[in-house]
């Protein structure tokens, strides 16, 4: 028995060693391709600390919290931009939810019998959600010009893809009895969806939409990086122009907003899901 134990242990050891060796080789290869070696790493990691130190200093060298008025001098402008950002996120979520809502019934296996239609809907949703939204935003900025419009459209497309898939999964998990009842009573496809599927899935849909809104607020905050509106524009400018105190102020505002939105939507979602049960 001892021998068997020793054998089992050594086999596992060998596997772990093999895994570790592969890991090391991968690390070495990646470090080579991305031109990061330990010397560079330690030489440059210090400047990160420096940078964060400077983020917390005003132009006159004082710590930022010694003069809040000076730190948040642009609060009026920033809150307007932040408001824009929230609206971009809202519109993107709203329009995207409508799109995802319409497509999810087509992509659901239990409601759409046509294979071709389902396949097309699924591939379309996949394409929408795999391309990062900032790439869409870059392309749309060229097509539609600078401003909030390309940002909204980019977020919308990504939301259609993400929500369409989640919604379709919800729809596939519904209780089929009402659907059968509606079909038996001669309901058309739209009537079946409206009276048999919709009442079952609506609370879940609303909850996912809220969750998506939360994610989209984060997404909308960076849309300005490529000229697609919102607070990102000011953030990118102050980072590029080395206005350190502004950077930390805007970051704090964004983080605080994201946290508040998280809390609010979480509350709402718990109530929604609670109401459904």
């Amino acid at each position: 028995m001892m021998r068997a134990y020793a054998q089992a242990v050594s086999a596992r050891r060998a596997r772990v060693m093999l895994g570790a060796a592969i890991l090391l080789v991968l690390i070495a290869m990646s470090a080579r391709t991305s031109e990061v070696d330990l010397a560079v790493f330690f030489a440059r990691i210090g400047s990160v600390g420096d940078y964060f130190d400077r983020l917390l200093r005003l132009d006159n060298g004082q710590r930022v919290w010694t003069d809040l008025g000076e730190w948040f001098w642009g609060l009026g402008r920033w809150s307007r931009l932040l408001f824009d950002t929230l609206l971009i996120a809202y519109l993107g979520t709203f329009l995207g939810a409508i799109g995802g809502f319409c497509l999810c019934f087509v992509a659901a296996e239990n409601l759409t019998k046509s294979r071709g239609l389902r396949f097309a809907a699924r591939r379309f949703l996949e394409a929408c959600r795999t391309v990062p939204e900032i790439v869409f935003a870059l392309i749309f900025v060229v097509a539609f010009g600078l401003g909030a419009l390309p940002g909204v459209l980019a977020i919308m497309i990504h939301t259609v893809g993400a929500m369409g898939k989640l919604f379709a999964e919800v729809v596939e998990n519904i209780d089929m009895n009402p659907v059968e009842g509606a079909t038996a009573a001669g309901a058309s496809w739209t009537q079946t969806v409206r009276f048999a599927a919709l009442p079952q899935v609506l609370p879940n849909f609303a909850s996912y939409a809220l969750l998506r809104f939360e994610i989209n607020v984060r997404g909308a905050a960076v849309m300005g990086f490529v000229g697609a509106g919102g607070i990102g524009q000011d953030l990118v400018e102050s980072i590029r122009k080395f206005h350190y105190a502004d950077v930390s102020a805007i970051l704090l505002i964004i983080i605080a907003t994201v946290m508040v939105i998280d809390l609010l939507t979480e509350r709402l979602r718990h109530r929604l899901i609670g109401a459904a049960r």
Binding site: S47, L87, F140, A143, L149, V152, A185, G186, F242
Partner: protein, 288 residues
């Protein structure tokens, strides 16, 4: 599709209405609330469009432009820069891999400290959790910008950005894994004379390690996506080429790059799903 059920139901409609008044005449309260909610949502959307200065002219002309771009995208072509692109793609993968590993290494102590069953002090626990949340609340792209201006352009900044963004997520996930670990193996090790270190090595680690490993793999997968875009702000990888080709309106190359990214992401998804399956032995829901 008119079954016999429909005919008999229609024939007895008056009787049905009498017997089930609530179904035919639902109380108005919820209905009014629903309508108000929909009207409110649509109204807010219209106000938002007005505030953000949407105009049909711009949407129309933009769509026309977009259609034109789409025409130019077929057929996708690399325009003789394939080796550049492949190099950048390799760099992207390297950034995702190294960044995730760095985040995991740094997050391990944070995760241990943030676990309720390790650090029982509630104030400390709250403080660590909130700081992890703060780190998590900042988007990868923002981190990329910050690190580009802190350490200069290039993949190093990208790696740090990925690491910073994931540090918060890993800290939270690791601490949850530790909190969810079963106490019995630990008690067993202690009862048979093991020290505290033994308890961690033989009691906690075997339970927690596979979970962590699978989460790290999942994040390498999702970071491949993030790493493709951080190049847009100059933090290395294929995003740099993508942004450049979009700015210079080389649409066939843009299409080629996007396809390249999609294929790579799909391949990495496939490999990592396989590996995760092999490590954990069952499907684990991806962390939200």
């Amino acid at each position: 599709m008119t079954g016999p059920l429909r005919h008999s139901a229609l024939a007895d409609r008056g009787g049905l209405e009498r017997r089930h008044p609530r179904i035919f005449r639902p109380p108005p309260g919820p209905r009014v609330a629903t309508v108000a909610l929909i009207v409110g949502a649509v109204g807010l959307a219209i106000c938002a469009m007005w505030w953000l200065e949407f105009s049909f002219d711009r949407i129309g002309s933009g769509l026309v432009q977009l259609g034109y771009f789409l025409q130019l995208m077929v057929p996708p072509s690399h325009g003789g820069k394939l080796s550049h692109y492949l190099g950048a793609l390799a760099e992207t993968l390297a950034i995702a891999f190294l960044g995730t590993l760095l985040a995991a290494v740094l997050a391990l102590p944070a995760g241990v400290l943030a676990a309720k069953n390790v650090v029982a002090n509630r104030i400390l626990h709250f403080f660590i959790r909130r700081s992890l949340d703060t780190v998590r609340g900042v988007d990868t792209l923002i981190w990329a910008l910050i690190f580009v201006s802190a350490v200069g352009l290039g993949p190093f900044a990208g790696m740090l950005a990925i690491a910073a963004a994931d540090f918060g997520a890993f800290g939270k996930l690791f601490s949850e894994a530790i909190e969810n670990s079963d106490r019995k193996p630990i008690e067993g090790v202690v009862a048979s004379g093991g020290g505290e270190l033994h308890a961690v090595r033989f009691g906690v680690l075997p339970q927690v390690f596979p979970v962590m490993l699978s989460q790290v793999l999942y994040y390498i997968e999702s970071n491949t996506r993030s790493a493709t875009i951080i190049g847009i702000v100059g933090a290395g990888g294929i995003g740099l080429h993508l942004a450049e080709e979009i700015r210079t309106l080389e649409w066939d190359r843009v299409a080629f790059l996007v396809l390249m990214i999609l294929v790579t992401v799909a391949v990495i998804d496939f490999i990592s799903a396989r590996l995760r399956f092999a490590i954990i032995g069952r499907r684990v829901a991806a962390p939200a």
